[in-house]
């Protein structure tokens, strides 16, 4: 009787904790969207003139543009109209391409999507492998891995991009320097260097954090106890070290995954890929606001959704989190 009551209270607290996380995420996205919409309003002078870049337009066209961006209405009304459309995945028309922003972005996701996934897989697999091996072996291996991680975390993506470009595509001719290729195998081949360039920073971060997390678990008493019980070395690492270290790692993987989305801006520019990132860069320099706003909103949404999902997944990976989290 007593236990069920406590159980129910615990569950209610847990549900409340989930609700708080989700609400916090929604609030964050909403406030960020106000900022993203407000950016257009902050343009010094006439936003429409800035967008059209001095092209000559008839007063009718200017009026139409102004109406389409809600500039003929107050801030609140304009924002509500914009966010209402955005919720229906309608970000308006690109002023540069004269097509809908949504179709522009979805067309280019065919390059950016695989690129982000490819690079995330590379970073997670190599980062965790190096972290685990260096934490278990220790000594010289550990120091070498630490050094490699320190250098790779500090390597800006554009530096690794031009380094890889100079070495592997111009110097050795192993990979193409530009273009995204057609067909699955060709695309993977074309995307390899860009994916590696983006993965380098993420690899370093994962190798360092993973190493710290694994090393911490290895020093714990329960690992010592498991060893003394005669549990095999591989089983100790799998069940007692990796499993416990997984929770903090997942947070970092979530953050990295979301940051890869913005990272495509640099890499796609360096390798001449027609993806969402290079679209963002060209739209910023041409002041194509509907496109910039659409991509910015998607990026923030992605960041918040991934982080919230990671937070919510935490109790299932590590039940101790739920106890601590719900108690607060």
């Amino acid at each position: 009787m007593k236990r069920t009551r406590a159980d129910r209270a615990g569950k209610r607290a847990f549900a409340g904790w989930i609700g708080k996380r989700v609400l916090g995420g929604i609030l964050t996205v909403l406030l960020a969207s106000v900022l993203i919409y407000g950016a257009l309003r902050l343009v010094p002078g006439d936003p429409v003139l800035a967008m059209t870049g001095g092209r000559r337009l008839t007063p009718d066209q200017i009026e139409a543009l102004r109406h389409r961006h809600g500039l003929d209405r107050g801030f609140v009304q304009g924002y509500l109209a914009w966010i209402g459309d955005a919720l229906r995945l309608d970000f308006g028309m690109s002023t540069n391409y004269q097509t809908s922003v949504t179709s522009l972005i979805t067309n280019r996701l065919g390059v950016s999507g695989p690129l982000i996934l490819y690079s995330a897989v590379l970073a997670v697999v190599s980062g965790l492998a190096v972290a685990l091996v260096s934490a278990v072996k220790g000594g010289l291996v550990n120091r070498a891995a630490g050094m490699a991680a320190a250098v790779t975390t500090a390597t800006p993506t554009f530096v690794s991009a031009i380094g890889l470009l100079a070495l592997f595509s111009v110097g050795l001719g192993w990979f193409p320097a530009t273009g995204a290729g057609t067909g699955l195998a060709d695309r993977l081949w074309h995307l390899t260097l860009p994916a590696v360039a983006m993965a380098i920073v993420a690899f370093g971060v994962l190798a360092r954090v993973g190493n710290a997390a694994f090393a911490e678990e290895l020093r714990r008493e329960h690992v010592e106890v498991a060893r003394s019980r005669g549990v095999g070395a591989a089983a100790v690492i799998r069940r007692h070290v990796v499993r416990n270290a997984l929770a903090p790692m997942l947070t970092i993987v979530g953050l990295l995954f979301a940051s890869l989305f913005v990272g495509t801006a640099v890499v796609e520019t360096a390798f001449g890929l027609d993806g969402v990132g290079s679209l963002l860069v060209s739209s910023v320099s041409r002041r194509d606001f509907p496109v910039v706003q659409g991509i910015a909103l998607i990026a923030v949404l992605l960041f918040v959704v991934v982080n919230t999902l990671v937070d919510l997944a935490m109790p299932f990976i590590d039940p101790r989190v739920a106890l601590g989290g719900a108690g607060r």
């Binding site: 609030l27 530096v159 940051s259 320099s285 923030v300």
Partner: protein, 289 residues
């Protein structure tokens, strides 16, 4: 790409026990870069803008152009030295601004508590959800290319990075007996906070700002690389790399790789220094406790 990783600081705190040999090297390298940038007009062998089509794309090691020349025949060494000025000054501006904002907001949240703390903390969470490079690009879309707007945007972006740490240290320090005793002596809240609490927050602030400097340097160089930052004729390392694109594709990558190496080594040094500073603070605190 900026991440705050507590595990990293915890780790460097343990490792910092014996001062790693690399720390003086890192500090020395940064000093070298700063002096090279500061004294570029005196030290640089050539004008950074002097073009000479006859001398274009000379390889490093050429007499008179020790690091070679770029595709318009400008001396790479001189350009890297001049480029150091904007490449270091702009992130310094970011760090100073975000430091001031971070101190103000962090101290306010810690000392006022209640709803002020809730609003500030929530606001910092929201800013944190906005990738720094994205925010910088958004303001460039508003203001047009140039460095002033991105510097301000990045300062806002890095404020949580500083402010969160200031807040947590200020809360810890604020609970110590000496703070209460000053208050009992009748000093005002603002005076106690600025005169006695702030100095104790400073070491953490400096360590965190050092790391932020590295991140800001990368972000600003990336912006310039994308053609959204520095406007010609000004140049920083990022814009030099982007100008080297055609030379790289022709198989003459030096004019791009050398400024790239300058960015890389500077950021590695800044990180080493920042983590060492953060580590020695962690050590002091654990000794004091």
């Amino acid at each position: 790409m900026t991440l705050t990783i507590p595990a990293l600081r915890a780790r460097s705190a343990r490792r910092g026990r014996r001062r790693p040999l690399i720390v003086p090297f890192a500090a020395g390298f940064l000093l070298l870069v700063a002096v090279a940038g500061l004294l570029a007009p005196v030290l640089a062998p050539h004008s950074p803008d002097a073009t000479s089509l006859l001398d274009s794309l000379l390889p490093p090691g050429t007499e008179g152009h020790w690091l070679g020349t770029d595709s318009t025949g400008r001396d790479v060494l001189s350009r890297v030295m001049y480029g150091a000025r904007l490449s270091l000054l702009a992130p310094l501006g970011v760090v100073l601004l975000s430091g001031v904002l971070g101190i103000a907001l962090g101290l306010l949240a810690a000392r006022a508590g209640g709803w002020a703390d809730a609003v500030v903390s929530r606001g910092m969470d929201i800013v944190f959800a906005f990738p720094s490079l994205l925010l910088a690009m958004l303001v460039v879309a508003v203001s047009g290319p140039g460095l002033t707007a991105p510097i301000c945007a990045l300062a806002v972006s890095y404020t949580p990075f500083v402010g969160r740490v200031v807040r947590s240290v200020a809360i810890q320090e604020g609970a110590r007996p000496y703070m209460e005793s000053y208050r009992v002596m009748g000093f005002g809240e603002l005076w106690v906070t600025l005169r006695h609490l702030l100095p104790n927050v400073m070491p953490v602030l400096i360590a965190q700002s050092t790391l932020a400097f590295g991140y800001a340097l990368v972000d600003l160089a990336a912006l310039s690389y994308l053609g959204l930052g520095v406007r010609p004729p000004d140049a920083d390392w990022g814009s030099m790399i982007s100008q080297a694109r055609s030379a790289i594709l022709q198989g003459e990558p030096w004019s791009g790789l050398l400024p790239g190496l300058a960015v890389l080594l500077t950021v590695v040094s800044v990180n080493v220094l920042g983590e060492h500073l953060g580590g020695s603070i962690g050590r002091k605190q654990s000794e004091g406790a």
